[in-house]
């Protein structure tokens, strides 16, 4: 260990507790683990999304993609849904 490292360890005041780092990393990795416990999960979500969106838009169901992705410090649901046209929604 370099001298600087040792000094940093002795004088470091506001370093984050390593257990908090562990907890945060776990939380993120588990979002993904839990979602991918079954590939059925994404498919079920996909089908339900299509059902709802179809009420409002004409979409290309073949090209539609839904995925959970890790981004920096969070997990995001990324959906790419090509729209072919709008449905005539009745104005109330």
């Amino acid at each position: 260990m370099a001298l600087l490292d040792i000094l940093n360890r002795i004088f470091a005041k506001e370093t984050v507790n390593s257990k908090d780092v562990a907890k945060e990393r776990l939380r993120l990795v588990l979002v993904h683990d839990r979602a991918s416990v079954s590939s059925d999960f994404i498919n079920a979500l996909k089908e339900d999304l299509i059902k709802v969106i179809r009420e409002y838009l004409e979409i290309d169901e073949e090209q539609l993609s839904v995925n959970l992705e890790n981004e920096d410090n969070s997990v995001a649901l990324i959906a790419n849904i090509p729209v072919r046209g709008f449905k005539k929604v009745v104005n109330e």
């Binding site: 507790n17 390593s18 257990k19 908090d20 562990a22 907890k23 776990l26 683990d33």
Partner: protein, 266 residues
């Protein structure tokens, strides 16, 4: 007789499943219960050495399933406690030597004789795991306060729930309360926060576990081992007694310091 069949599992290897099985089983037998320990880690059996019974084994679980011997012949009697038996795993076979269906039948046979059937599950989520949970009614998940262990525990809990186990319970093993206190190890609450399941017990890190394994004498038989005391509490909770969970706090430091001075405590 109502029997309880409990599988002890973890996903990750090396977190203390076998040690936990041996200690809870021995503690239950110390309370006068009739107990059988079932080692399902075929090919990598170890419960026999942890229990110190390796020289007494003649037949194993695969022999029973294949009708090479009677169930009674494969039940190895413990050398310390009346009513405590081990059904060892086979060492030279593979996990596929037993099917979940055969395991279920075997456990139904054991239920006729024993109050507690503890199933020591192998690491992993493949057939060994499927076998181990096949005949169990309850599941205990062992995890250490490490990121990899907690992650695997989460996965196992998911699989257990998908297999119909309603409330798997958690044992946190090898907790170092000093490290947890200074924020360098996840604490009980951190782990419960993430796994959100019921806590069955907390076992502190204890060097004596190594000694007890060396000797083949489960730590619960030692009167001063901290881990042994924690396992005895777990056993009492399993029998339905209302026992407080060990939280890592020293009960009375003054008495403890004195005990240490006179070499009564570790």
């Amino acid at each position: 007789m109502e029997s309880k069949v409990i599988v002890i599992t973890s996903g990750k290897g090396g977190v203390g499943k076998t040690t936990t099985t041996a200690n809870i089983g021995t503690a239950l037998a110390m309370m006068g219960k009739k107990v059988v320990l079932l080692d399902t880690d075929i090919g990598l059996r170890n419960l026999d050495v942890v229990m110190g019974l390796e020289n007494r084994i003649v037949f194993d679980i695969v022999d029973v399933v294949n009708n090479n011997c009677k169930l009674q012949q494969a039940l190895t009697k413990d050398k310390r406690y009346e009513g405590l038996y081990l059904l060892p795993a086979a060492q030279t076979k593979e996990k596929t030597a037993v099917s979940p269906h055969q395991m279920k039948n075997l456990i139904n046979e054991l239920k006729k004789e024993f109050e507690f059937i503890l199933v020591d599950c192998p690491a992993g989520i493949e057939q060994g795991f499927r076998n181990a949970i096949a005949g169990a009614d309850e599941a205990v998940v062992v995890a250490t306060p490490e990121i990899s262990s907690v992650r695997d525990a989460d996965r196992i809990i998911g699989l257990l729930e998908a297999s119909g186990f309603r409330e798997p319970k958690l044992i946190i093993n090898r907790l170092r309360s000093k490290m947890a206190k200074r924020g360098d190890m996840m604490d009980i609450d951190d782990i419960l926060d993430i796994l959100s399941i019921e806590l069955l017990g907390v076992v502190p890190e204890d060097e004596y576990i190594v000694v007890s394994t060396n000797r083949g004498e489960p730590a619960v038989t030692d009167t001063v081992s901290k881990a042994g005391a924690a396992y005895r509490r777990v056993a009492r909770r399993i029998t339905g007694q209302d026992v407080e969970i060990y939280t890592g706090e020293e009960t009375s430091s003054l008495v403890n310091r004195f005990m240490k001075m006179v070499k009564l405590a570790r």
